[in-house]
C-alpha cells in the first residue's frame, strides 16, 4: 500500500526524473540568492526531499522492472539529450542522497550559522559546494549523453576541489591544486574520447553509440582510442593506481564532513562513468586484455593502499589510503564480468555496486568519526589515541563498526559483495582475483586493528578532551557505519533492483 505521494510520483513516469536532477540545482541557486546564512538550515529539508525523490525513482524503476527513459526538451537523441534511470542509476541516486543527508546533519555544527549571526566564508562555501557535488552526482547517475556527463563531471570537480582547501592552509591548497590538475587532465582526456566517438558515429548518446558499435564487425580504431582515452581520464579522477597521488593529501586535508563526501561519493562518480562505458557502451572491451589490465591495477591499488595505510601515523591519512585500497576492489569487476555467463556477470555488477555502497557508507562514517576524534584531541596521531574509547565511546564504536564493515564482516555489504564476486572468480578459474581480495581483506584488518589497539589502550586513563562532539554528530557517524554493516540484510528482491537494465554481458553481439 504505497503512500499517496509515492503513488503520485509513480504516475509521473519519465517526468519524475527531473526531480532528482533539478532539486539540488534549484537548492544551489535559491540558496545563494536568498541568503547564505540560512543555507545550512534550509539544506536539511532539501536533502530529505532529495532522499524522497531518490526513493520515488527507485520505486518507479522497481515497479516497472525496466529502466525509465526521458528525452529532455522533447528532442530525442541523436539530436537531443536523454536521461535514463536503471538499476545502477538508482543505486547511485540513493547512496548520494543518504550520504549527503548524513553529512548535512553532521555539518550543522562546524558549518552552521546561528540565527542572527553573520554569514561566514566557510559556511557559505561548504553548503554551496556540497549542493554542487550532489547536483553533479545526480546528473552523472541519470545522464545518457557523453557531453552532458562531461559537464556533470566538471560540476563535480569544481565543487569538490575547493572543499579540499577550505581551511586555507598552504598544505591543503597544494593538495587542492594537485587534485585539480589531475582532474582537469582527466576531463580533457574524457572530452577527447567523446569527440572521437562523435567523429565516428555522429552521436553522443550512449544507447545509440552502443548499437552502432555493437552492430559493426570490428571496432574501428578511433573508437578504441576513444574508449582508452576516456577510461584513462576517468581513472585519473577515480585515483586508481598509478594515478592516485592526489588523493591521500586531498582527502586527509579536507574538513571531515568534506572528506566523507569526497571519499564516499565524488570518486564513485567517475567510477560510475567507467561502468557506463565498459558495460553499456562497449561490453566487448571486457573480454580483452584491457579488462585484465584494469583488474591488475585494481590489485595493485588494493596492495599498495593497504600497505601504505599500515604505515600511516595520522588517522585521517590512514582512512584516505584505505579509500585507495577499497577503490581497487571495484576494478576487479571488469575482468570478472567478462568471463562469466550473463547471469554471473550480472552478479558481478551487483557485487560491485554493493561494495560501492558499503564503502560509501562505511567510509563516510569513518571519516566523520575520525574528524570528531581529531577535534576532541586536537590532533589525530594514531599512537596518541590512548583512552579515546572511554572518552568518546559512540564515536569510536562508529569508527570500529565502519572498519568491520570494510573488513567484510558478515552481514556487511562488503561481505555480500565479496561472496557475489567470489562465485564467478572460482567458476571462471581466475583464482588470482579471489586471492587478491583475501590479501586485501587481511591488510584492511591489519591496519584497522592497529587503530583499535591504540584506541582501546589506556582504557582506564581517558585523555582530557579539548571539546566534546555533539551527540547527534556521533549518532550520524554510527548510523552510517551501521548501515554499511547491515547492508547484507537487504532482501534479495531489492538486490535485483541493481540488475534492472543489465542484459548481461553479451559478447560480440548487441548489448
Amino acid at each position: 500500500m504505497s503512500p499517496a505521494w509515492l503513488a503520485g510520483a509513480l504516475d509521473l513516469g519519465g517526468d519524475l526524473l527531473v526531480v532528482p536532477l533539478m532539486l539540488p540545482v534549484v537548492g544551489l541557486l535559491l540558496g545563494l540568492g536568498l541568503g547564505g546564512r540560512h543555507l545550512g538550515r534550509v539544506a536539511l529539508p532539501l536533502m530529505v526531499l532529495g532522499l524522497a525523490a531518490a526513493l520515488a525513482v527507485a520505486a518507479a524503476v522497481f515497479k516497472a522492472g525496466a529502466p525509465l527513459h526521458y528525452a529532455l526538451g522533447g528532442w530525442a537523441p541523436p539530436l537531443g539529450v536523454s536521461l535514463k534511470a536503471d538499476g545502477l542509476s538508482v543505486v547511485l541516486l540513493l547512496t548520494s542522497a543518504l550520504v549527503v543527508l548524513a553529512v548535512g546533519i553532521y555539518a550543522q555544527r562546524p558549518f552552521g550559522v546561528a540565527p542572527g549571526a553573520v554569514e561566514t566564508r566557510s559556511s557559505l562555501a561548504f553548503w554551496m559546494l556540497l549542493l554542487g557535488v550532489w547536483s553533479g552526482l545526480n546528473t552523472v547517475a541519470l545522464g545518457q549523453d557523453l557531453f552532458t556527463l562531461f559537464v556533470a563531471l566538471e560540476l563535480l570537480t569544481f565543487s569538490a576541489v575547493p572543499l579540499v582547501a577550505l581551511d586555507g592552509r598552504a598544505e591543503t591548497l597544494a593538495a587542492a591544486l594537485r587534485y585539480l590538475l589531475f582532474a582537469l587532465l582527466g576531463s580533457v582526456l574524457y572530452l577527447l574520447g567523446a569527440v572521437l566517438f562523435y567523429g565516428t558515429y555522429g552521436t553522443l548518446d550512449i544507447a545509440l553509440l552502443a548499437a552502432a558499435i555493437g552492430g559493426a564487425d570490428a571496432v574501428p580504431a578511433p573508437v578504441l582510442a576513444a574508449a582508452s582515452l576516456m577510461t584513462v581520464g576517468l581513472l585519473a579522477k577515480t585515483a586508481l593506481f598509478p594515478l592516485h597521488l592526489w588523493l591521500p593529501p586531498a582527502h586527509a586535508g579536507a574538513p571531515p564532513a568534506a572528506s566523507a563526501v569526497l571519499s564516499a561519493l565524488v570518486v564513485k562518480g567517475s567510477f560510475f562513468l567507467i561502468l557506463r562505458i565498459w558495460f553499456d557502451l562497449m561490453p566487448m572491451l571486457l573480454t580483452g586484455m584491457a579488462a585484465q589490465i584494469l583488474g591488475a591495477l585494481g590489485v595493485a591499488a588494493i596492495l599498495y593502499g593497504g600497505l601504505l595505510a599500515l604505515r600511516q601515523a595520522r588517522l585521517k591519512l590512514l582512512v584516505a589510503y584505505s579509500t585507495l585500497a577499497q577503490l581497487g576492489y571495484l576494478f576487479l569487476i571488469f575482468p570478472l564480468a567478462a568471463t562469466s555467463d550473463p547471469a554471473g556477470s550480472t552478479d558481478v555488477v551487483t557485487g560491485g555496486m554493493l561494495h560501492l555502497v558499503s564503502h560509501a557508507l562505511a567510509k563516510a562514517g569513518m571519516f566523520l568519526a575520525a574528524g570528531l576524534i581529531a577535534a576532541s584531541l586536537g590532533q589525530d596521531q594514531i599512537s596518541a589515541l590512548g583512552g579515546i574509547a572511554r572518552a568518546l565511546p559512540i564515536t569510536v564504536l562508529a569508527f570500529g563498526l565502519g572498519g568491520l564493515a570494510l573488513m567484510g564482516l558478515e552481514p556487511s555489504g562488503a561481505y555480500l559483495a565479496k561472496s557475489l564476486l567470489d562465485g564467478p572468480a572460482a567458476a571462471s578459474g581466475q583464482w588470482w582475483w579471489g586471492l587478491a581480495m583475501q590479501a586485501g581483506g587481511l591488510l584492511t584488518a591489519a591496519y584497522l586493528i592497529r587503530v583499535f589497539y591504540h584506541a582501546l589502550a589506556g582504557f582506564s586513563h581517558p585523555p582530557s578532551l579539548k571539546s566534546r562532539p555533539a551527540r547527534y554528530q556521533e549518532l550520524v557517524a554510527l548510523a552510517l557505519a551501521l548501515g554499511a554493516l547491515l547492508l547484507g540484510l537487504l532482501p534479495a528482491e531489492l538486490l535485483g533492483l541493481v540488475a534492472i537494465g543489465r542484459s548481461g554481458v553479451e559478447l560480440g553481439g548487441l548489448p
Partner: protein
C-alpha cells in the same frame, strides 16, 4: 597548392609555433603573452572552419578574458628559480611518450570515416520550430538546452570556490584581484570611451545571436571585459561578495532558465521543451537574462576572492 590551402597551412604552422613557444619559453610572462596571441590566431582558424560563433567565443573568452586572468597571475608570481622539475632523462621519456600520443591521435584523425557522419541535416530540419535562424543558438537553447543550463550552473560553484580562498576576516569585503591601476590618463580615457561601444557590441551580439552568429556567451564575455576595464581604471568599485543585489543577479539567469524549463513540462510535454509559437520569445528571454548573469560571473571570476583593503 591553392590560396586557401596556403592560408590554412600558414595558420596551422603559426599555431604550432605559438604552441611550442608557450611550452618552451623561459619566462611565464612571455608564455602568457604567447597564449593570448595563440588564442587570437586560433579564432582565425575557427573562422576558416566555418564556425564563426566559436571564433567569437574563442577571441573574447579564450584569448581575451583568459589572457587577462593569466597575465594577472603571471604578474603576481614570485621570481622562478631556473631548473627544477623532472630530470633531463625523464623529460626525454615523457617527450617521446607525448609524441607517440600525438602521432596516434593524428593517425586516428586521418582514419575518421568518410563520408563524415553529421547531425547537421537533423539540426536543419528541427530548427524552424525553435524560431531562431542561427543553428548554434538553436542547439544551445533548444535541442541541447540541458547542457547550457548545467554549464551556467557550473559557473556558480566555480565562483564560490574562488571566493572561498579569501581569508576568513575578509569575507564581507570586495574582490581584490583587479587592483586599479594608479591613475593613468590613457587608461582612464580608454575606460571612459570604450565601454559604451563595448556594451553596445555586447548587447548586439546577444540580440543578433538568435539569427546570426553571436549569442549570450560572446555577448557576456564582451560585457564582462568592459566591466573589468572600468574597474581596473578605478572608475567603479566591485560589489562586496555579500551584496544582495549581486547575488540575485547571479542566480537570476539560471533560475529563469529552470523555471521556463519546468513550465515546459505542462506547456510542451517535457522539461526544457519549448511550446509552439512561443519558442523564440522564450529563447530570447532566456538569452537576455543569462547574459546578465553570465557576464557578472565571468567578471567576478576575474575579480578573485575578497580582500581587505589595506
Amino acid at each position: 597548392m591553392s590560396m586557401a590551402l596556403a592560408v590554412d597551412a600558414g595558420l596551422a604552422l603559426l599555431i604550432l609555433g605559438l604552441g611550442l613557444w608557450i611550452i618552451a619559453v623561459r619566462s611565464s610572462f612571455a608564455a602568457v603573452v604567447g597564449f593570448i596571441t595563440y588564442g587570437l590566431v586560433l579564432a582565425l582558424v575557427w573562422v576558416r572552419l566555418a564556425a564563426v560563433d566559436v571564433a567569437m567565443t574563442e577571441a573574447a573568452l579564450g584569448a581575451g578574458l583568459t589572457g587577462v586572468l593569466l597575465l594577472g597571475a603571471a604578474a603576481r608570481l614570485p621570481a622562478e628559480a631556473p631548473g627544477g622539475g623532472p630530470s633531463a632523462g625523464l623529460r626525454v621519456l615523457v617527450a617521446v611518450l607525448c609524441a607517440l600520443v600525438a602521432a596516434a591521435l593524428a593517425a586516428v584523425v586521418l582514419s575518421l570515416p568518410e563520408p563524415a557522419p553529421s547531425l547537421a541535416p537533423l539540426v536543419a530540419e528541427n530548427l524552424p520550430p525553435t524560431g531562431v535562424k542561427n543553428p548554434v543558438t538553436g542547439v544551445l537553447l533548444a535541442h541541447r538546452a540541458i547542457d547550457t543550463l548545467l554549464e551556467t550552473v557550473v559557473l556558480i560553484p566555480a565562483l564560490i570556490g574562488v571566493w572561498a580562498l579569501a581569508a576568513d576576516r575578509a569575507w564581507g569585503a570586495r574582490p581584490g584581484a583587479l587592483t586599479p591601476v594608479p591613475s593613468s590618463s590613457a587608461l582612464t580615457l580608454l575606460a571612459q570611451v570604450l565601454p559604451p561601444f563595448g556594451i553596445l557590441v555586447g548587447i548586439h551580439l546577444v540580440w543578433a545571436g538568435a539569427d546570426e552568429p553571436g549569442g549570450k556567451f560572446q555577448g557576456a564575455a564582451v560585457l564582462a571585459a568592459m566591466w573589468v576595464l572600468v574597474v581596473m581604471a578605478g572608475l567603479a568599485d566591485l560589489p562586496k561578495v555579500t551584496s544582495r543585489l549581486m547575488r540575485y543577479t547571479l542566480v537570476l539567469g539560471p533560475l529563469v532558465f529552470v523555471a521556463i524549463g519546468l513550465a515546459g513540462i505542462w506547456s510542451a510535454g517535457a522539461f526544457l521543451a519549448l511550446p509552439e509559437g512561443y519558442a523564440k520569445p522564450l529563447i530570447v528571454t532566456i538569452e537576455v537574462v543569462l547574459t546578465l548573469s553570465v557576464a557578472l560571473v565571468l567578471g567576478l571570476l576575474l575579480a578573485g576572492p575578497p580582500k581587505e583593503r589595506a
